[in-house]
């Protein structure tokens, strides 16, 4: 496969995610989305850059913070918004909520809310790929907190010893809820957790979309050629509270200069400015893009609003019947 420098497409993808997330935040207080939400605002470049080099058939796995991954991989927007509303057309039929998004048609296999829990599932999918001789990649997204869980290390070791086509993507947003990385780990260099398992790795600024795009390409090419795991650390920052629609920097758990550094390093604003500078995009075209996406998002919320709730009589189905 060739390197794809389709930066306008990637930008559009990021922008759409941002607008979906902001709309969720805006409407959250209406209390129609009655489930926890972990917004991806600030971290969109990673999802969009990595997905740029994955095919529809490639598999991805995600966490509680799964909206960006779901949308970037091509997950159905209506099914996502309906799921957040607990409605029948939701991807889980209202059984999962925002932390369980999946869309098998887009290769989005599973998102799970228990930290670290999804990592071995992606490795298991890579085992299937190996045993069935499919030429696919299984990619798993997780945070700097998840890498502290034993199951990450069990998964990395197994992926290496079994030569499995897995991409481990660690999004280091420097926090597990309110607890900073430096209170949890002796170093912010998380690639040491790849090194110790003899897995190839890269690390870069996850808000720099060109870097993300290049590194993702290099990693995915390596996996496809060698049938070996690969690990990337992307450093990034979440803009809003850990869980919920609001900003929470009044709580003072993040240093003011750190917050302003990362907010000024916004992947979407930076990329927009670059595209305009390079005459790939105009302000006017950008406005049109925003309008198109806002329309689409509004339709999705209307769809969810009009969608019916699942029939209570079906609450018992799918425990044992197949």
């Amino acid at each position: 496969m060739n390197f794809k420098n389709n930066y306008l497409d990637i930008y559009k993808n990021m922008l759409r995610i941002r607008l979906v997330e902001e709309e969720i935040a805006k409407r959250y207080s209406e209390q129609n989305m009655r489930c926890p939400v972990h917004l991806s605002i600030g971290q969109e470049a990673i999802a969009s850059g990595v997905m740029n080099h994955l095919n529809k058939e490639d598999k991805i796995y995600s966490t509680h913070r799964c909206h960006a991954h779901y949308l970037a991989k091509g997950g159905n927007l209506n099914k996502m918004i309906s799921e957040l509303h607990g409605k029948a057309s939701g991807c889980c039929g209202g059984r999962g909520g925002s932390m369980h998004l999946f869309d098998e048609e887009a290769g989005i296999m599973s998102s799970l809310p228990i930290v670290g829990s999804v990592i071995p599932l992606a490795v298991g999918n890579a085992l299937t790929i190996k045993l069935k001789k499919e030429r696919l990649v299984s990619a798993v997204f997780f945070g700097d907190g998840a890498i502290e869980e034993g199951v990450y290390h069990e998964s990395a070791n197994f992926a290496k010893i079994q030569s499995l086509p897995v991409l481990f993507i660690c999004e280091n947003n420097l926090f597990s809820v309110y607890t900073p990385l430096n209170e949890r780990q002796p170093s912010a260099d998380l690639t040491r957790h790849a090194k110790s398992h003899d897995i190839k790795y890269l690390r870069c600024d996850g808000n720099d979309i060109s870097k993300v795009n290049e590194f993702a390409f290099e990693a995915i090419e390596y996996i496809r050629k060698n049938n070996q795991p690969f690990f990337i650390q992307f450093d990034t920052y979440r803009h809003r509270e850990h869980c919920g629609p609001n900003f929470d920097d009044e709580l003072d758990y993040r240093k003011k200069n750190e917050v302003s550094f990362w907010f000024e390093n916004d992947p979407i604003i930076n990329e927009k400015n670059r595209l305009i500078n390079d005459k790939i995009l105009t302000e006017n075209e950008n406005k049109k893009l925003i309008d198109t996406y806002l329309n689409e998002i509004d339709e999705a919320f209307k769809f969810a609003d009009q969608d019916s709730f699942p029939d209570p009589a079906t609450a018992e189905s799918f425990v044992y019947e197949f």
């Binding site: 059984r95 228990i114 071995p120 599932l121 999918n125 085992l127 045993l131 069935k132």
Partner: protein, 360 residues
């Protein structure tokens, strides 16, 4: 022709695995020790020679990870058989079992399934001690979405393992180590059977005894003694603890109006407690006496055989419970116990009862 041979239960399990792997190339076996010289008490013997290291995977020590790998591979089209030499090792993986194996089918509204079988083995005797001998089936039976199977008879074990590997329900297949030694007539070819619940393995009319796994053998011995004194007991092998199919038990208890339940694990909060509650809810007015529960006392398993004396319930305990329910005389009880002692003189508590070798 499906002729039978006299085999141990562990050989029967090995044959079931062979057959399942031969018939379906998506079945693979994974676990710590599956290719080692002891081959999980002989139950994975020769598998690696026949099917290769890709399908018989010697695993690193990573129980939670392994369970997750199996779930991910099951969701994407494989049929894994994961094996733990002791139930306790699976405790490191209850996160994956409870949150992912049990719930994926439900949460995905039926779009994903996890056709995974996990075999785990309960140890007993010869100083196994507190962390290598626990019967933890109640904790797995607690969670909706899992199936829990505990075999007692060799051919049935073969058919149940083979059938579980053909189905999609995530299945906890819990084996008592002492059942591995028991022999029975085992058919050459395993059959796909319905895994739909308890079976009456001995007909009777005076008292119903529900047991499973190793306790089936204590129940059969107790039944033989009771029979010598004209008391006829009906023995139900529970086989599938979850989902619990009460129907055969209700039918039997409606007839005998009595019930003794035997656990291999702790008496408190055990499988018997669940059955007792359900039977009481359904047949309160028919019961002659309260349901009686037999299980381990409320303390860990000591290693020393001196401390382990009287720890494990036996046929004698079943006979004593029968006396409480049926009110036969003290003389009869003494005669029964003497008869039992004659039958199995001086058995050590820390080795399998030699009477239970079969064929059953």
């Amino acid at each position: 022709m499906n002729s039978s041979r006299n085999l141990t239960l562990s050989d029967a399990l090995c044959e079931a695995t062979h057959q399942a792997m031969k018939e379906n190339k998506n079945v693979f076996v994974i676990g710590e020790g599956v290719t080692d010289p002891k081959a999980i008490f002989g139950t994975t013997k020769d598998l690696v020679n026949n099917f290769g290291v890709d399908r018989v995977i010697e695993a690193p020590l990573a129980e939670n990870g392994l369970t997750g790998f199996c779930i991910g591979s099951a969701m994407s089209g494989m049929k894994p058989l994961l094996i733990h030499q002791r139930v306790e090792f699976a405790l490191l993986s209850v996160e994956q079992i409870f949150n992912n194996a049990a719930k994926t089918h439900y949460v995905s509204a039926g779009k994903h399934s996890v056709p995974l079988v996990i075999r785990m083995i309960i140890g007993r005797g010869w100083g196994q001690g507190p962390a290598h001998s626990q019967s933890l089936e109640p904790i797995f039976s607690y969670v909706p979405g899992l199936r829990v199977i505990m075999p007692s008879l060799a051919n049935d074990a073969k058919d149940m393992l083979y059938s579980a590997l053909k189905e999609k329900i995530p299945t906890m297949f819990i084996e008592h180590r002492w059942c591995h030694y028991v022999t029975g007539d085992v058919k050459k070819s395993a059959s796909k059977i319905n895994l739909d619940g308890p079976k009456v393995i001995k007909k009777g009319k005076d008292i119903t005894v529900v047991a499973f796994s190793y306790m089936i053998y204590e129940a059969l011995l107790a039944s033989e003694i009771l029979e010598k004194f004209d008391i006829s007991s009906e023995i139900i092998d529970l086989r599938i603890l979850k989902p619990l199919n009460l129907k055969p038990i209700l039918e039997s208890v409606s007839k005998t109006r009595t019930l003794i339940c035997c656990d291999t694990g702790f008496r408190e909060y055990g499988i018997s407690a669940e059955i007792s509650a359900s039977i009481t809810e359904n047949l309160f007015d028919s019961l002659k006496k309260p349901v009686s529960r037999i299980g381990l006392p409320n303390r860990p398993t000591p290693s020393s055989r001196a401390l382990a004396a009287n720890y494990y319930p036996t046929a004698e305990n079943i006979i004593m419970e029968a006396k409480k329910i049926l009110n036969f005389t003290d003389d009869i009880l003494i005669n029964m116990i003497n008869y039992l002692k004659e039958k199995k003189p001086n058995i050590r508590a820390d080795v399998p009862n030699p009477l239970f070798k079969g064929p059953f």
